[in-house]
Symmetry: C2
Subunit: 110 residues, 2 copies
Amino acid sequence: MGLAKTEIFTEDQNELALIGKVFAHPARIAILQHLFKVKACVCGDLVDEIGLAQPTVSQHLKELRNMGLIKGDVEGTSVCYCVNVANWNEMKEKFKAFLDQGIELDQECC
Amino acid sequence: MGLAKTEIFTEDQNELALIGKVFAHPARIAILQHLFKVKACVCGDLVDEIGLAQPTVSQHLKELRNMGLIKGDVEGTSVCYCVNVANWNEMKEKFKAFLDQGIELDQECC
DNA sequence: TTTATATATTGTAATATTGCGATTAAATAA
DNA sequence: TTATTTAATCGCAATATTACAATATATAAA
């Protein structure tokens, strides 16, 4: 089918999967890493930095924006992007709680 | 295209994206959560727990296995699955380092 | 107003993912 | 041997993702 049966999973599981999805492409990882490094930059700089065509980068930026992880401020003909720190931290805690759930397991099982 | 241009990204970026991808489906999140809860269980129990058809669950288990996050031990006609704790912890540290990279940013930018 | 610049959107082709019925494989039980 | 049980694999249909050329939009400059 190509579409997940989200209705049979919990809200928490679906949300964690959406977080996973937004990180599931190296271009989006690279965009976030660059934004963390330079704090804020214009779309065109990201296009140069990433090495994909402008519409492709724009598309990845849109997905990051839709997830609330970045914000874009229009400045003349440019758009200045940066990490949405509040949302990033919220997402981060949620995902780290998932990653840390097995902290008590200290050996193999089967 | 449907396929990422991995050759233009760093090894680190591609690996983080692969980690994201394995978490990008609620069924795989649910499988991992269940394995953490019950420590180890047989494939059939996961099929009951998850609520997807057996071939579908088997496919998700394969992806988790390919990423090294779980192991399956054949026990008669059954297969007992569990988290591969060493690999899980390694992956976890790598991903948490990525999530924590912006720790010094404490306010909005644009 | 016209032109240039920067970004978003649209449309499309190629590929990937998801889900499952049907089948296969492998071990055990009768 | 012949079921039976359990899980993996195959094949397919439906949908999603990725990438980009072409175009639209919006602001600024001439």
